[in-house]
Subunit: 348 residues, 4 copies
Amino acid sequence: MVIVMAPDATPDSIDSLVDLVAAAGGEAYVTRGVSRTIIGLVGDVQQFETLDLRAKPGVSDVLRISVPYKLVSRENHVSRSVVRVQGVPIGGDNMTVIAGPCAVETPEQTLEAARMAGAAGASLLRGGAYKPRTSPYAFQGLGETGLKILSEVREETGLPIVTEVVDAADVELVATYADMLQIGTRNMQNFALLQAAGEAGKPVLLKRGMNATIEEWLMAAEYIAQRGNLDVVLCERGIRTFEKATRNTLDISAVPVAQRLSHLPVIVDPSHSGGRRDLVLPLSRAAIAVGADGIIVDVHPEPENALCDGPQALVDEDVAELADMAGTLSALVGRTLTPAPQREPVRT
Amino acid sequence: MVIVMAPDATPDSIDSLVDLVAAAGGEAYVTRGVSRTIIGLVGDVQQFETLDLRAKPGVSDVLRISVPYKLVSRENHVSRSVVRVQGVPIGGDNMTVIAGPCAVETPEQTLEAARMAGAAGASLLRGGAYKPRTSPYAFQGLGETGLKILSEVREETGLPIVTEVVDAADVELVATYADMLQIGTRNMQNFALLQAAGEAGKPVLLKRGMNATIEEWLMAAEYIAQRGNLDVVLCERGIRTFEKATRNTLDISAVPVAQRLSHLPVIVDPSHSGGRRDLVLPLSRAAIAVGADGIIVDVHPEPENALCDGPQALVDEDVAELADMAGTLSALVGRTLTPAPQREPVRT
Amino acid sequence: MVIVMAPDATPDSIDSLVDLVAAAGGEAYVTRGVSRTIIGLVGDVQQFETLDLRAKPGVSDVLRISVPYKLVSRENHVSRSVVRVQGVPIGGDNMTVIAGPCAVETPEQTLEAARMAGAAGASLLRGGAYKPRTSPYAFQGLGETGLKILSEVREETGLPIVTEVVDAADVELVATYADMLQIGTRNMQNFALLQAAGEAGKPVLLKRGMNATIEEWLMAAEYIAQRGNLDVVLCERGIRTFEKATRNTLDISAVPVAQRLSHLPVIVDPSHSGGRRDLVLPLSRAAIAVGADGIIVDVHPEPENALCDGPQALVDEDVAELADMAGTLSALVGRTLTPAPQREPVRT
Amino acid sequence: MVIVMAPDATPDSIDSLVDLVAAAGGEAYVTRGVSRTIIGLVGDVQQFETLDLRAKPGVSDVLRISVPYKLVSRENHVSRSVVRVQGVPIGGDNMTVIAGPCAVETPEQTLEAARMAGAAGASLLRGGAYKPRTSPYAFQGLGETGLKILSEVREETGLPIVTEVVDAADVELVATYADMLQIGTRNMQNFALLQAAGEAGKPVLLKRGMNATIEEWLMAAEYIAQRGNLDVVLCERGIRTFEKATRNTLDISAVPVAQRLSHLPVIVDPSHSGGRRDLVLPLSRAAIAVGADGIIVDVHPEPENALCDGPQALVDEDVAELADMAGTLSALVGRTLTPAPQREPVRT
């Protein structure tokens, strides 16, 4: 059982709930989030039912949910959520394109890729400054330098930034630059990182672990939510199977399945799942048609020189086709392609 | 190296090719198919090149292909094939819906399901008379009685029949009733069955093995083709992974990948891959959008009483939505929904 | 519910049971096997309980078993079975080595491999005359010529023969030469083949499908058993996973798991699972130590010239080590290495 | 190319190497470890060859290795390594048992489990104070309180402690208590954690990710080694497959494969791979027989009350059998069961 406190609940109201639960023989785990406090109860649920918790001061909601992912489940939250990144919506009747380079390499490459992203219909810019790489000898990203490049490009283009964080210790720093934090496939069960992201006060893009079941993915989202952050977007990016023709196997069914189980938006990464440029457009069409709330796509001005995942990046000749298709196909499934944010001209 | 003979090639022309190859130190494997003879050469390819085989009497084509699936590869067959089932096309600019009950149970149920299939936009009727079941105690299909029901329903509705064959010994019998032979996922590497189907003179629907790589799938198609039958349609129906929320994981990327490697049409089975009725429409949309040449869908008038796979069958309220979506979405990807065959009114 | 008839049950006794079940509103599926008749009942089990079936003439046993694999389950058959191949035992306190070439190529190669098998501690000779190959252009085995070579080598060495059958239509022919029929991994759910093997009157070695769950494997064995043949030996040979360093992943846990669920003997194929000669000895040790009832190993006098799977064959310098290890390690786990059959000198 | 510096190399010698490499057009990445400095070179290897790096002051070794895991590869380190945990060896001719409770719960439970570990033949004590759990509402371990319990039990029993760390930020704290740091399966690609562990000055037990290839596992070990810590022990603990009868599928072949590729010791976790008590002894036998350098086993005085993974823990009646088997079977494969450390009587 989970108690969701009102944003203005007082510390006293929380303390007295904890005492009440303890007196009833249970235990209460209090998590103070940025915007609200969550109290998880462990013990005899029927006993708790007698306490009339919903009527207590400061209590916003009391959830008794059968699935293990309490806060992200649709059981008590039937309408699907819209997550806003600097005003750009993901979810609802929107179909949102996120695009950008796999890795931030130089200011020029990033700016050029951002312009390609805009041409591809994107309303958010992706780009990695911290890259989790299989080899310690591979390019690991530019770190804070990369974050600064991203924020300059945001200044230039108006596109809010989605960027990955790989270590709980970096969350605070990355959150000062990023508009949305991305947690990558290899870190989906890095629980310390999930908890730190849950406390950072920024929306989170949570990639599915390449070997994670849908239930484990929702449990990872629950880790973030349990720290008071419900602005989580799920991203299907392919799972590991025996098939070798593609880097991973895009589990397209995971989109409707996750949407039925959770109120969180679900998007698809057609670039990393296939690992091949020639599959990005077909898989993007499949994603929009199946009902995804968005797609996240790699673009690069010069894929042959990319420091990371060049073979899967879209190039200039692809982006107009993507934008055109995304607009038309979204309409067909009752959605609207999210426009890039309107903004004042920037003085430089 | 593979020699494809012309349909009217004489036995003498074949014999002299075999002698020629033997004289050059090679071996020739002759396969006499219904419509053409295929000769596979084993030995020194450069030596064979000197024989000027393409100029010999009766030779239609000589293929020197780097991939192991010679006849179904796109390497020497760049345009994608159209397979016709009693005139109904699969492939090219068509998007073909096949629908019907998982198993033929009674004449009434089959006729009713065929009417649902028509309402769903189908131009071909599926239905199983021989069911490969995990348990020897489960319903194994009606056998020849089921085939007779199917042919009566074809008489009534005009829809050509696609039906499964599970044993090489049954191929001849099944082919007397069926318009297209289906080979199921568990039999994808039943090589005796593949060869028998290759000789039956009917188009073949070849489902991907649930644990087969795309290359193995194409090699299975090659077994059919090598017996002289190039009218093969590939069907992606989900692979086995660790994910448990769906019966299998639909490998949607396999459609564009197989289409790039092979000239054969590729369709998708959204019913068996997901195993859940609520996923059939979303996955059908994904399949058409990704560029599949068709879909094959379970329908049943009373899924709760179905003898086989009831939970995945579409019901009456779904079929109009499927037909409507299939028409609209096909147009968006440059295809036309294949209409049901025109026919004379049947007198009964 | 399943009725097992006594070997000497009369046709009348069977007919009257069928009538009895029908009168009680159920259905009876009669399978007349070579050595016994099996009657599967479908309907209301509690109703059947009132019929006192166990007391009827000709009835040997009535099984009410909760798992779907009735005849091969340990539920009503607690002691583990011993299967005898021409007197050579597999199961019980025995540890049986089967060895030989992957494919029969020539009389000399087969005889030499049989001598290596004997030196490796084998009491049964394996060798393939019918090879299921991924490519239709690959060596498919010598067919009946290969079976004749095997029987000549049996004459010479006294080792009973285990050989694969790949098509239901070939079972009768193969059974006239073989002492044990092998069903390969690709055919584990070729139900027509399983049923034919169930009626052939010879013990069957059933390899696990490379993508089959343990339950499906036991269901495949049930198909054989349901035709009256309980002389089935299960063989774990590796499953398909994402790991690429080995051909397949030997599921060593499947041995104790299957032995707990079924009374059938379970052996291990360390050659095909790893696909590498250097792994055969370590995996053989693991198999014996985990409690397998036997191992089946590839040996070849000249692996570099083998027509099939040369890289995994043991060579002369390995076989003495295998025999020595198998004897010592078997003793440590309370088993005895099965000796090669004693026999009269053969006159040639 | 990788330069390994001598333990007593001066800062000057390192600086001049960096300059030398830069002058040759390359880049040098310097990692200063606790016991030695590692310099990774990126650039033209043939150019580097001309620099005669091996002869420079302070250089211990220069590795030019074809595989991407340079430091843990056997290519330039043919003899297999022995890692010592407070004097207790893992690797070489030793077979080392690590045992203890999955989670530290109370002082009494931990002490009792440690006594069971000793009776099971263990020379090292495992026990988790930080537990990575799928659910944020599950027991997450006692944290530092748990570490203190472990160190008291070490005081009492003399067994050095192996314990998990789940966050890079905790490494320093955990290392003050632990004799060996464990990195769990979900964190195998938590690169920040790997690097922190590489700098902590304690040996590391690195579990294989449940979806990781063997190559990725060795790359994760390389991350630790690259920070100057070569005292890494690899632990195979089962991979994720479609099989549901066991929690994961123990990849027993991974032991000999990893031992051929890397000089690091490789041990097996039969408890977490199977997830069932009845499989622990058979899988332990398989592990020792296949040639593992050790096993790590869960024991618990009262599994039915365990806060974590009770169903897989060995109980009192199992431990003597394990110790007895481990001794006998180790001898058979040419190893000696590592004895528990001798120590002075502790005064309390």
